[in-house]
């Protein structure tokens, strides 16, 4: 891994973010819109005393943090799609850049973009709804780490699928996180899921992250069970994602897909 090549990838995507309205919308518009909608919804529920005060925090906190997960895995996939749409893959991989340098650069850019979206959404939550997530961040950090790690793993798998199946499956960039959301227990506790789905949910680091955060908000403190389950699952998914990507990239090279993809 060479730092100058990772920097080149970062610079390439920073230029893209500056000049591409789609990337700006992805980075700021959607996280802000999400928080505005959920904010009004919680106000409506709170006004009629239909909602326990803690639930306002649950919902807004969950909306912000799900936004982090969704944005990160989407941007990993969209980063590769940008190269495909621009027919830039041959230029990139006929120079000394390795695919893991490319992915590392993309991860760095996406961390910054996600942080910008997170900051905007959190600011709106403080100003408009008096929900301040910042004092909770310390307690949330272990779970946030698990969310981001899982987003890396999912993003790497999605990027691999894009390399193999190209733009034919580009919709996965925006839809795959949606598939995980119902079983990630973002807005409701794990126990509210039926049996089979509960078993599936238990195997997702996102579920453990949101369960752990709910426990913090409810005053139950740090949950080692959810944290370590999340870490263990992430280690497995991350390892699997790296193996999968290496295999699919080698397969794409073998099938000549790197030079054909568009």
């Amino acid at each position: 891994m060479k730092l100058h090549r990772i920097m080149a990838v970062i610079v390439r995507h920073v230029y893209e973010a500056r000049r591409n309205l789609d990337r700006f919308m992805d980075m700021i518009y959607w996280p802000v819109l999400d928080i505005i909608l959920w904010g009004f919804f919680t106000i409506y529920l709170a006004q009629g005393n239909r909602l326990h005060p803690d639930l306002v925090s649950f919902l807004l906190g969950a909306a912000i943090l799900w936004g982090v997960f969704f944005a990160f895995q989407r941007d990993m996939t969209v980063g590769f799609l940008d190269e495909l749409w621009a027919r830039n893959m041959i230029n990139l991989f006929s120079c000394p850049l390795s695919v893991w340098e490319y992915i590392t650069g993309l991860i760095c850019v996406n961390l910054v973009k996600t942080l910008v979206g997170f900051t905007c959404a959190s600011t709106i939550a403080i100003v408009a709804y008096r929900f301040d997530i910042v004092p909770l961040l310390g307690a949330f950090l272990p779970y946030l780490l698990n969310l981001v790690l899982f987003a890396f793993a999912v993003g790497i798998i999605m990027a691999g699928l894009i390399v193999r199946y190209t733009t034919r499956i580009q919709t996965l960039a925006w839809s795959f996180a949606g598939l995980l959301q119902p079983v990630s227990c973002v807005f409701y506790p794990l126990k509210s899921l039926p049996g089979v789905l509960r078993a599936i949910a238990w195997m997702l680091p996102t579920t453990h992250a949101f369960e752990g955060m709910r426990q913090v908000l409810a005053g139950g403190g740090f949950s080692p069970v959810h944290f370590w389950w999340g870490i263990g699952l992430n280690a497995s998914y991350f390892g699997a994602a790296i193996l999968f990507f290496n295999w699919i990239f080698a397969s794409a090279r073998n099938k000549g897909l790197l030079v054909k993809i568009e």
Binding site: K2, H4, R5, M7, A8, V11, R12, Y15, E16, R19, N20, D82, E83, A86, R87, N88, I90, N91, L92, F93, S94, C95, P96, L97, S98, A250, R253, N254, K255, G256, L258, V259
Partner: protein, 247 residues
């Protein structure tokens, strides 16, 4: 030898795109790779670049195997083709800055300015790629290809979208680069006159196989099977295509 291609073969399922291709390229030589569409030229170039894994055979560049020394080799070579593109929202300068970083070019901006001037596109510096004509895009590709002062330059139909005047300029520039810097150039083109003028040696491919290699006059005599004083690659090309000549 700067490039050694030994029994290079690429099969896609039951289709053999490149079949036991063997040739070498000497230091400082401009070698042309000719053949009709689908002859296997571009696939061969992509295997030389490590973009496609060969089914059999090997590619050695600067005496090293591309599979095991990819990074070291690609740092010293470059490639362009009008069939690939750059991120279209980025300006010419931004794109070249990214590639200059990738190749760790010292004094990036100075180098880019020199390349823009070399290819007569200084006025396009701050234009987004999306607003360029195909010919302008090709020249940006050539500027990118010269950024790292490559020892070996792979050019896949570099003059395909250029008008005759610009194509002539590009040809002259490539010959100057070869003369002044000793750059080795592997070149594919459908412009036979250009190849005759530029290339000291030619590898003629058809149906994935080398059907002849040598100087333009040797190729002419070998395929037309008659004595000639001047190369006639256009005639050779038409003969190969019409009579389906293969190895």
């Amino acid at each position: 030898m700067i490039v050694e291609v030994n029994n290079l073969t690429k099969r896609f399922g039951s289709f053999t795109a490149v079949d036991s291709v063997t040739f070498g390229v000497e230091q400082g030589e401009i070698i042309g790779m000719l053949g009709p569409n689908g002859a296997g030229k571009t696939t061969t170039i992509h295997m030389i670049l490590g973009l496609i894994t060969p089914s059999a055979g090997e590619v050695r560049i600067f005496g090293r195997d591309i599979r095991t020394h990819r990074e070291e080799i690609l740092q010293q070579i470059n490639f362009t083709s009008p069939y690939v593109a750059f991120p279209y929202r980025l300006t010419v300068l931004e794109n070249l800055l990214v590639f200059a970083r990738l190749y760790q070019v010292p004094r990036r901006r100075e180098k880019i300015d020199a390349m823009l001037e070399m290819f007569g596109i200084t006025d396009l510096r701050d234009k987004p790629i999306a607003r360029l004509s195909s010919g302008e895009n090709t020249r940006v590709g050539l500027a990118k290809a010269m950024l790292n002062d490559p020892r070996l330059l792979l050019l896949d139909e570099p003059t395909a979208y250029l008008d005759p005047e610009i194509a002539w300029q590009v040809k002259e520039l490539m010959m100057r680069v070869q003369r002044e810097r000793g750059t080795t150039i592997l070149y594919t083109s459908h412009n036979m006159a250009e190849v005759e003028q530029m290339c000291s040696r030619i590898v003629f491919l058809n149906h994935g196989r080398v059907i002849a290699q040598g100087s333009p006059i040797e190729i002419t005599q070998s395929i037309l099977k008659e004595e000639r004083d001047e190369p006639a690659l256009e005639e050779v090309f038409l003969r190969v295509v019409r009579e389906r000549i293969s190895a």
